[in-house]
């Protein structure tokens, strides 16, 4: 079974530029999560999708971050414009139904450096 795929793996941009990350979840998984992990910290949930609807985006900085999950499969996370403090690893995860106590499967992450 293929795991969660993410691209690119690394990205370096100047502040105020825009950037986009892509995620392909495990086939058949209805729930998709985007996390931000700053060095030395645990993952922080940015947004959770159930199929193509948003379940939780309470911690998403909506003035600069946006995400979509067209057709309930792949997802894209965008930052525009980027700030220095956005330097982090962006992790995508998926789970089968998004139900209580369900295991999340993580991708390898995209490491973003904003200069």
């Amino acid at each position: 079974e293929a795991g969660v795929a993410q691209s690119p793996r690394y990205k370096i941009i100047e502040k105020r530029q825009s950037v986009a990350f892509w995620c392909n979840p495990i086939s058949g998984h209805a729930t998709l999560y985007w996390y931000q992990q700053i060095l030395g910290q645990g993952p922080k949930l940015l947004i959770q999708f159930q199929n193509n609807g948003v379940v939780d985006d309470s911690q998403l900085p909506k003035d600069r971050f946006s995400a979509e999950r067209l057709k309930g499969v792949d997802s894209t996370l965008k930052i525009q414009p980027a700030k220095l403090e956005d330097s982090a690893v962006y992790l995508c995860a998926s789970s089968l139904k998004g139900e209580y106590q369900e295991t999340q499967y993580f991708g390898p992450g995209t490491r973003l450096l904003v200069l």
Binding site: V4, Y35, G40, Q41, G42, P43, K44, L45, Q48, V55, D56, L91, A93, G98, E99, Y100, Q101, E102, T103, Q104, Y105, F106, G107, P108, G109, R111
Partner: protein, 110 residues
């Protein structure tokens, strides 16, 4: 606000010994707790889940305890091996929402 604390300093232990990692929390009543392993440059990998009505869970060399009175979970790796070296994250869950701790880096010395 809710707070999840894991040892911020790395834990170094000798191969063959038992490693014990701690996860403490405040201002939260999780219904379940998960432990994940994260290697450098990779995403977290699920290891174990324990529910609020369970005291202990085991899987091979891993053991997790959950004390809702102390608001603490302990994660044990027995007969530790250098391959167990990684960062271990606890994650507290209620309903569908999971909140991660900062993780503890474990180094097993041959």
């Amino acid at each position: 606000s809710q707070k999840i604390e894991q040892n911020s300093e790395a834990l170094n232990i000798q191969e063959g010994k038992t490693a014990t990692l701690t996860c403490n929390y405040t201002n939260y009543s999780p219904a379940y707790l998960q432990w994940y392993r994260q290697d450098p440059g990779r995403g977290p990998v699920f290891l174990l889940l324990i529910r609020e009505n369970e005291k202990e869970k085991r899987k091979e060399r891993l053991k997790v305890t959950f004390d809702t009175t102390l608001k603490q979970s302990l994660f044990h790796i027995t007969a530790s091996q250098p391959a167990d070296s990684a960062t271990y994250l606890c994650a507290l869950g209620r309903y569908q929402k999971v909140t991660f701790g900062t993780g503890t880096k474990l180094q097993v010395i041959p």
